[in-house]
Each structure stands twice: as C-alpha cells, then as structure tokens.
Point group: C2
C-alpha cells in the first residue's frame, strides 16, 4: 500500500465509523499533512481517492465535505432459475427495447447507454474528425482481419491492468462487444450444445444462444458474489456443458463483482470439467474501486477463457469498437470474424487507440466512474424513499445499472403499460432470462445526469409500483407463478 | 429511347462497323447536330455516353477520337464443378488473402479493392469529418437496429434504378455486404442444408456456408450468361436445396451480367421449387452500361429474393456500410442482425446518405465505371500480348475483376510461389470453389490506375505462366487432375 493509500484508508475508516458524518467538513490539507507526516501532494492524492470513491466532494474555497451515502434497504434475493437447459425465447421483448429508433418520445430508464454528454469524450470526436480530414486512401481500405495494431497494442495495456498478460496478436478487434460475444460463442459450440449462463443474464448473449440453436442452462446467482459455484458444479456434473458465459465484473444487470477467490475457483472448475469460459468484461473498466478488478482471463492457464470487451459502455456504442482475446480458440474465432463482417472499420479503431495513448481514456474513466457511483447512491436514496417496502435493489460495484426486485408479484410488462401514459419505460426483467423469468424485476440506468425529469420519473415508477402492490394485495394471485 | 440515346446508338454502330477506326476523329459536334437535327446539348450528351462506354475520348481543342478496344482472344470455358453438395474447405487460402495487414511489400494483383484514390471520393471524407466535428451525442449512441432512415431512403432510390420498388422499412443496414450475406444465409437455412452457388463463386459466401455447417452445390456457370438454368433445374429436382446464392450482375469473379430473360427465368425456377434466392449485388452499380441492369429482386413477386449490397466496392470497404432487403425473411434477418453486431455504426451511414443525396455518388460512379472499363480493355490487351496461347480471359460488363484460365494445367499456387520473388501475388482460383477446383485459374483486379509497376507485373505474370506451360509440356501430367 502506498503512503497516499494509507492516508486515504485512514480517512475512509473515520467516515465509515461516523467520526465525520454527512455534510461534515474534513480536516484541511495542511492538518492532514501534519497528522500523517506526508507531503501536500500525497495528501491531495489521498483526498482525490476519496473523491473517486464518491465519499467526499470538494467545495470551492471551503474544503472537502462528506457526501450522503445510500445503501439499499434490501438486496434482491439469490436467483432461482430453472435447473435444466432451455431454449431461449423473449426475442420480441428484446426487439421492443433495441429495435426502437434513437429519437423517440419515451424517457427510457432501462437502456444500456453510457453518458454520451461527458465533456471528457470531446478528444475522441476531434480525433475522428482529424483522421477523416486527412483523407488517407489507406484509411478507406479494408483493415487486416485481426484489426489495427495501434489499437491492439493499447488493448494489451488495458488488459494488463486487469491482470492479463496478452500479446497484440492474442487480440482480435471486433465490431462492438456483441460481435466478440457472438464469435466467442460460435467458436466454442455447435448447434444443440448447452451453455451455462449467470442468471439474470445479458439479453444480447441469450439471443446469440437462440440464434445458434444452443440451450441456456441458467445458474442461481447471488446479487453480491455472482454465479453460485456450488450450483455450477452440480450442473457441470449433470449436463454436457460446452461453455460457461458470465459477466463476473460490474455485472449486467446485477452490478456485483465476483470476489477474486471465486473467480479463481470458477476458472479451476471450468478446467476440471474441460469447459470453455466466455467472459464478458464490457463494464469492467467502469469499476468504482482502484485498481480495477482482475478478469477471469487473468487466472487462465491454458487458453480456455475467451475474454470479450470493447468501448461501447466506456466511450460510445455508436463507434462499434470491441475486442476479443480468444485464447486457444483463435483459429475458429478468426474464421467466425471473417464470415461475420470481414475486417472491422479502421478509422474508429485508430481514433480509440489515439484516445487511450494520449491519456484521455484514463481521465474519462475516472470522471464517469465517479459520476456513476454518485448517481448510484442518489438513485438508491430515491428508490428507498419512493418504492414500497420489500423492494430489493442491487448495490453495484461499477457500471451504471440498478436491478430492482419488486414485491407482491408486480408484473413489469403491466408496469410498462401503465408508465406509457407518463412517457416512461423501464427494461423488464424477462429480457434477462431464457424463459421469461423475472417478470417482477426491472433494470434502471443511472449513467446520464440525474435531471429533475429523471428524479420525477423514478418517483412516478415507485408510486405506480406501490399502487400495483396495493391492487395485488386486494386480489391475491398464485405466488408460484413467479 | 431518348433522342440522345438514339444519336449515341447510331454513332456506336458506325464505330463497331469500323466506319471509324481506332484513332480516327469523329465528326464535330456541329456536324452531328446538323445530321441528326438535334440541339448541341443533345449531341454533347450522346458523345458523353460514348465516352462513358470507353469507345471514344475527348482531346482538348481537337475533338473526339475512337479508342482502342481489346476483347479477349479466348473466353474461359463453361465451368464444370462437382455435381453434388460438398463441404466447403479452402479457409487457409482465403485467410492467406484477407488476413494480411493493409501495408505489405507485395504487389497484390488479386484483391477486391476499388480505386480509393479517386478524387470523386473527397466529399465523403469531408462529410465524415464534418459529422464528427459537430460532436452530437446522438451520433455516439446506438443507432436503431434497422439502420438510419436517411440512408435507407437513399438506398430505396438506388434500388429503384435497378427495377426494385422498396419501402425504407424493407431495407436493413448492415456492417458491410459480408454481414448482409451472412444474415441472409442464416435467415434462410439451418445447419446441414444445401445451398446452390454459381461457380466460380465469391469466397466470402462460400466461407459463410462453411461456418454455418451448410453444403455448397456448385452449378456450371457460363462466363457470359451466368449460372446454367438447365443444370440448376436438374439440381433442384435432385437435391433438397434451401437457397440459391448468386451474383448475377457484374459477377465476381467472372464479370458477366445475366441477361434479363435469364434473370426472370431464375426467379421463376426458384418460385417453382420454393427456394429462397440470396442475390449479391455489391458490384451492380459498377455496370459499364446505362441504365444499370435489373436485379433478380426486381422480378421477385413473393419476397423470396434477399438482395444484399453495400458501398464497399463503389466507395470504401473501410467504412463497412452494407444493406440487405430481406423480403419475407425480415423477422429472422432482424434477429440475425441483432446477434451479429447489434445496430451498425451511425456516422458512416449518415455520411454515405449525404454523399448520395448531394449527387456525389452518381458522379463518382460515372467516373470510376468509365475508368474500370478503360482499364479492362488495356489489361485485356496486355494479357492477349503477354500470356501464352490458350489463356482464357473473361470480358466483364462491370466491376473491376478479370478471371483468367491458364492453359496446360498451370497451378496458380505454384505460380504465386514463383511470383513471390518478384513481390507479386495473384488470387488463386481455388478460393472460388468449395472444394479447391480452379487451380489453373486466377483473378486480377483492374481498379487502380494502371501504373508502369502494374503493367510490368502483368507482363511478369504472363512470362512466368509461359515458362510454366513450357515446363509442363516437357513433363506431361494427368490432365484429369484439373
């Protein structure tokens, strides 16, 4: 632990033990320097860590103040999906969410879109404009199938921060993370095979399984620690599983990060049963803690982990820049990449590579992670205040998604119908299950600035849910249906 | 036929009947006006048509002169592929061609790359730079899954020129034509199914069949009129075919355009046997004649034709902008699009839409088509002069590819090995077959300016082939092997 981390840890402990309460002013920089016998720059760095963790905020000419914190009144329960491989359905619901045009009159609370108005994104579009303006015919040409070396080199550096030692030739650039996932799944399976998934699970992956005639075996998942290794082991003993697809870091939709020991155990389990792991790390760089958590891939000793990531959640989904480290499945992955879209567009790759190389990426991540963490706390505060008792809320360790579990058998499709009058829409939980479970759950995005419109919308959703709970209480239904 | 078309047709007939020979000056504008009793602008338009057709050229202050024409001494033979469905191989050879980085020391004669130095492309990169510079957060967001309306509207206008009446909602924007083909094939087949292809056939499509566990049934194909309808009918009677995949206009690699009557008959045949048609029209807008040829889709009455196209061969492959009109397979195509890459990148779509809307696309097509036709004639002249007797050469009606059939059992992989010393590389014919036929054939690109380096390279290839033919004659091999 470096000196400034020690100072930050000491101050954090005092805040967590209520020596300084919400709204209190922390001791001045000078006082901290004296107390801990450190330089001003070390003390500043310690304060910056606490700011990053959304524990304090600087107020101009006044000092540093303790921010309000909110933790959920109640977490969602451990999920209990079906214990057998299932065909995936739910495409109509997914299309309903992703098929919509970009501009529509509804306030979409459930999308997977990061804050695209962050000022730290400006150098990216500037770089794109500059690259196009130079009009180099080479930029208009096919890139090499594996992707631009400049970007692969930067990806290798990012991967090192999550504990992976990769060579640029181990990385395949893709057209967004969706293509990386699609390639990884097709490279490790054949139609009819069984793929294990965490549950709830990202709908994009579930739909890839559907499109390739694969069966999904959903495993009980803890909202704090991720996929149940015990249930997974039983499943691997019982079923002929070909691949395990999980999002172990800043999970979508639950927000948890699996503890390192469980990550290591998961990789060991996959090795014991000789199963591939498809790791979705698209939100991993948005972890609130520092350094960012390790990937499963960092525990991989024999190339069985296919690490999928990209820049849609950190920078811009419209760029469609993703990447895949396919491990020992490289040859099949290259073939799948070729038949899917050929080489990916070149200029966006070069622009992202420059953006990272010049330090803009790190700066941007620092800003938006802090913002997303602040928003999480505010949003949880609103939900605690406005939703009926018994509402479970996730407590994300990164990213910009909250998962809500509603009490009293409230149906989120019915909820969406009622919200339509208020021009509000949430992402219903059924999208995140192979067979349409989680009708009483929903996902909410907390990336964009929390305007009055958003705060009113959350209050409106909470009030509508409360009304529905009361109605349900008046007309009881068979709870088993959920 | 308009008045200027009548004048152009009359003049063309005189050139073709040698009333004016190579190098002769045509009558002046004024004389043509007098003779045909037309306005100056009509006469000018007629001359422009003849220029477009590479029959004449304007020389400043001198008038219009008849250009040299070259037709192949010998066309390639009708292909005779295997008469049964086969698994596709040849991936290693394809990877060898497409896996290479953009900058490498070899002179690549066999690529599928258009002329990217055409000055008429400039407004496109200018538009891209402008769009990025405006830094609209909406541009950074996911587009709608079906693609930007602005581009779909322009695509509908282009499709009208090929005889198709489409609605913007009939069009799905894709990440390049490769994704359109991939989606179309996956939307119409299941693993194990049989797909008919013309032969030789685009390697990208053959590899899609391989990746999806489909079998290719290659049909004899005429180098002037395309796939044999007679052989196709027999095949449809004999095998349970699910889809027919052809490139009937400006075929890659043979260059032919199927006559309209045969196109209509092909669609009727598919209807009789209830089979889907996947039409690759990626080179269709590069037809040398005016108006451009009709698509199979224009003869489609019940939505069984899936029309695949894009802007990789007309504008820039690096943009990755393609499109698909999936007919009655729209729902499955949308699902396949979603799982493949999600929505496609937005800004390239908007830039292409603007480029078309402002007339730049039409202007660019006119220039490059004329250039490609002139290059075809020069290239054929060189090949007639430098390659040994018995070399068959295609006579393309559009696009920028020549297909050569070498005499005496020359093996193009051995040829490439010899050419490596000269830093030259051709695309071997084996890529264009499911099972590695056409070892004695090769594809040559005539898009880029015909520099001295290119002309020397062609002479070098011809001389190397001649040497190999002489060696083969000295050590006869079993001709049946080919």
């Amino acid at each position: 632990m470096t000196r400034y981390e020690e100072v930050a840890a000491a101050l954090r402990q005092r805040i967590e033990h209520d020596l300084y309460r919400v709204g209190d002013r922390l001791p001045s920089l000078r006082r901290v320097c004296e107390e801990f016998q450190v330089s001003v720059s070390t003390a500043q760095e310690a304060f910056r860590r606490l700011e990053d963790a959304a524990l304090i905020e600087a107020r101009p000419r006044s000092g540093f103040f303790v921010l309000p914190r909110h933790v959920p009144d109640q977490l969602p329960a451990m999920s209990r999906p079906a214990q057998c491989p299932l065909d995936v359905s739910q495409w109509d619901d997914v299309l309903d969410l992703v098929g919509m045009p970009g501009s529509h009159p509804l306030l979409m609370l459930g999308t997977g879109i990061p804050d695209l108005k962050a000022p730290t994104l400006r150098p990216l579009t500037r770089q794109l404009a500059t690259l196009h303006r130079r009009h180099d015919p080479a930029d208009l040409n096919y890139d090499s199938l594996i992707g631009s070396l400049a970007l692969r080199q930067q990806v290798v550096r990012l991967a090192a921060a999550s504990g992976c030692l990769l060579h640029p030739d181990d990385v395949l650039i893709t057209t967004g993370c969706q293509e990386a996932l699609s390639i990884a799944i097709r490279a490790t399976t054949s139609p009819g095979d069984v793929v294990v998934v965490d549950s709830p699970s990202f709908y994009g992956t579930l739909q890839i399984l559907k499109a390739n005639g694969l069966k999904a075996l959903e495993i009980p998942t803890d909202p704090r620690t991720g996929i149940s290794l015990e249930a997974l082991e039983l499943a691997l003993e019982q079923w002929p599983v070909k691949a395990i697809q999980v999002t172990p870091t800043c999970n979508n939709p639950l927000g948890y990060t699996m503890p390192e020991a469980r990550k290591a155990a998961l990789v060991a389990l996959a090795k014991r049963f000789d199963v591939a792991i498809i790791e979705d790390d698209i939100y991993g760089d948005l972890a609130y803690g520092h350094p960012r958590p390790r990937t499963l891939k960092s525990f991989d000793t024999d190339g069985r982990v296919l690490l999928c990531s990209g820049f849609s959640k950190t920078l811009s989904p419209g760029l469609r820049v993703g990447w895949l480290a396919p491990g020992c499945y490289r040859d099949r992955a290259m073939h799948m990449k070729y038949v899917s879209t050929g080489a990916s567009a070149k200029v966006p790759q070069l622009a992202v590579a420059e953006f990272i190389a010049h330090g803009h990426y790190e700066r941007h991540l620092r800003e938006v992670s802090r913002q997303y963490q602040r928003h999480r706390d505010s949003m949880i505060g609103w939900i605690n205040a406005c939703f009926p008792a018994g509402t479970g809320v996730s407590y994300p360790q990164g990213g910009f998604m909250l998962w809500l579990e509603l009490p009293g058998g409230v149906d989120c499709h019915a909820l969406n119908q009622r919200l339509a009058e208020q021009h509000i829409r949430i992402a219903p939980g059924t999208l995140f299950s192979a067979s349409g479970k989680y009708r009483h759950c929903l996902r909410i995005n907390h990336a964009a600035p929390l305007t009055d419109a958003v705060s009113q919308a959350i209050r409106c959703v909470g009030a509508t849910v409360a009304t529905m709970v009361d109605e349900q209480a008046a007309t009881p239904v068979d709870a088993e249906a959920w």
